[in-house]
């Protein structure tokens, strides 16, 4: 601190704490609503403290789902989300690693053309090519499948860039030494480059897991079969139902469950998360 102004310091703390309270408020309200029977929510007095139906409500959504909303168990949706998020994350990291390796460590015709082709994907988010992409996936017979949910999303310019940048900082001597010692390209990649990239891979994993888990538009397009619904898009079906049927307590329990995995990942792996966030924006 530059100078001692106790009032200002107190004010700073107060403002930040107020900000945190406002940020956390929606979660608290949601959590409280998810622990009450529906009558408490509908009778006009909004509860501010958790009720006694925590286990009952969560067991209902996890095990049976919201049958009145034509839903399936939230447990199934959580599983689908996990499969989709992990496939996208691992797929993106794997294909980006080898693509960046090829671009940085090999000299071959059309090297820059390949690089630009990958770069272009940055400018084509799903949102701008909804219908034709859907048509491709439908023609390949991938609707309502895990492959259809994840494969079209695993091309990643950002991840390829990140690894490219990182490989360029790896000292030349390492490749030279490896070559002199007779290591081939595969051995060099596996025994030297991969271990060096560990932190980058971990940081990217956190960012991409959140990205994969939070996908909304894509699952909405490619799943019509309820058993392939992911939780983030499944909630929407429930809120629409809650407009006519009073199901808010169950919708809120599902919302809590949808938030929990990515939030835990961010809080537990905060250092990697911040690193990943800053590096992917470079």
């Amino acid at each position: 601190m530059v100078e001692n102004r106790p009032y200002l310091t107190v004010l700073s703390h107060l403002v930040v704490i107020l900000g945190i309270i406002i940020t956390v408020m929606p979660i608290w309200i949601t959590f409280v609503a998810s622990t009450h029977p529906i009558e408490h929510i509908m009778d006009g007095t909004i509860p501010m403290w958790p009720g006694d139906k925590f286990f009952e409500n969560y067991a209902t959504v996890l095990g049976a789902g919201v049958a009145d909303a034509g839903g399936i168990p939230v447990g199934t949706m959580l599983f689908n989300s996990l499969v989709m998020a992990l496939s996208i994350t691992i797929g993106k990291i794997a294909i980006s690693l080898i693509a960046a390796y090829a671009i940085v460590y090999f000299d071959f015709p059309f090297r820059m053309a390949c690089f630009w082709l990958i770069f272009i994907t940055l400018m084509l988010p799903v949102e701008v090519r909804i219908l034709p992409t859907f048509a491709v996936v439908a023609n390949l017979g991938l609707l309502n499948s895990y492959v259809g949910l994840s494969l079209p999303l695993i091309a990643s310019a950002t991840a390829t860039f990140l690894f490219r940048q990182f490989f360029l900082t790896v000292p030349e001597e390492l490749a030279e030494a490896a070559r002199i010692d007779g290591a081939g390209p595969w051995k060099f990649f596996k025994d030297i480059l991969l271990p060096l990239s560990r932190t980058n891979i971990a940081a990217l994993f956190v960012i991409l897991f959140i990205y994969g888990w939070n996908q909304y538009l894509w699952p909405l397009l490619v799943t019509t079969d309820e058993s392939f619904y992911t939780i983030v898009m499944g909630i929407q079906r429930m809120t629409q139902a809650a407009e006519s049927l009073p199901l808010w307590h169950l919708v809120m329990a599902t919302t809590m469950l949808a938030m929990l995995p990515p939030v835990i990942v961010v809080v537990v792996m905060q250092k990697l998360f911040v690193k990943g966030l800053v590096e992917t924006e470079k």
Binding site: V15, T23, Y105, I118
Partner: protein, 293 residues
């Protein structure tokens, strides 16, 4: 850019690039080309006949008052979200930067909303503002304001702006805090010795030095509001009431997927593509210049 020491192998680099290129070509380039092509066609509702019409779809699009409304909504929405989330994040970052004790703890408590899906953020605020069961609607009624985002377009817009901004504050906070911590202490100390108070120091030293971060975040936030907020709109207002919260991305989806207007939807996709490409160019040009600051 390439390494000085490279491996030589006639087929290995292509094999390594194959998965990435295959996915890119099949699911990115090909559909984009299709969208470009379809935007020049008119197809009847049953898909029986198609006609090549050059730029008629675009002419229709920009003559359609509904589309122009959507464009305007998107601009209002994006800049409201960028302004709200950035100014709040800057305030919190400046305050958190002042508190030496607790800054790390505050950071942990403020960054997690980044992990919440846009659609889920929408549902959280949708519930809090629900006219029947929501606490915020209840409080507003107490203040004499009859909140109803089902009927009032302005209320609905405020709802989606709040939900979208809430989620984005954590991201902006992180980057502002990093920007603030990178400002040399000596500059601020020198100003303090010369008698500049905290307010004056902020506006004449800190804020100008933060401008690269601010500009970068402005672009990122506009991109976010344009393209990543589909979930918020779809899970809450569905573009309503009467199109008041319809944004461009939502209209592409509803015209193409529900309205089955292939040519019109493709033309809208092309307009969006142009917007993304311009924003990306701005972002990259700027990032190259960032080094000089």
């Amino acid at each position: 850019m390439i390494k000085r020491v490279t491996f030589r192998n006639p087929w290995l680099p292509y094999a390594l690039l194959l998965p990435q290129l295959a996915v890119t070509l099949i699911f990115f380039i090909w559909p984009a080309v299709q969208a470009l092509y379809q935007s020049l066609l008119v197809e009847d509702a049953f898909g029986l006949s198609t006609e090549f019409v050059w730029f008629e779809n675009f002419e229709e699009l920009f003559a359609d008052p509904l589309y122009l409304d959507t464009f305007w909504n998107t601009v209002v929405f994006s800049f409201s979200v960028a302004f709200a989330s950035m100014s709040l994040a800057l305030l919190l970052a400046v305050m958190a930067d002042r508190t030496i004790k607790g800054a790390t703890a505050y950071k942990t408590l403020l960054i997690w909303p980044y992990a919440v899906a846009p659609a889920v953020a929408g549902v959280l605020w949708f519930f809090m503002f629900n006219p029947v069961v929501g606490i915020n609607a209840y409080l507003l009624r107490g203040l004499g304001y009859d909140w109803n985002h089902y009927l009032d377009g302005g209320d609905a817009m405020i709802l989606v702006v709040i939900a979208a901004s809430w989620k984005q504050i954590s991201y902006n906070f992180l980057f502002f805090l990093a920007g603030l911590q990178a400002i040399p202490r000596s500059l601020i100390e020198a100003a303090a010795i010369d008698g500049a108070g905290p307010f004056k120091r902020f506006w004449t030293i800190i804020f100008p030095l933060l401008s690269p971060t601010t500009f970068f975040l402005l672009v990122v936030n506009v991109v976010y509001a344009f393209f990543d907020t589909f979930g918020i709109i779809h899970a809450t207002t569905e573009g309503g009431p009467a199109g008041a919260t319809q944004i461009l991305v939502y209209k592409v989806f509803s015209d193409g997927f529900i309205g089955l207007d292939l040519g019109g939807s493709a033309a809208q996709s092309v307009v969006l593509m142009v917007i993304v490409i311009s924003l990306t160019v701005v972002q990259f040009r700027y990032i190259e210049r960032r080094v000089e600051y």
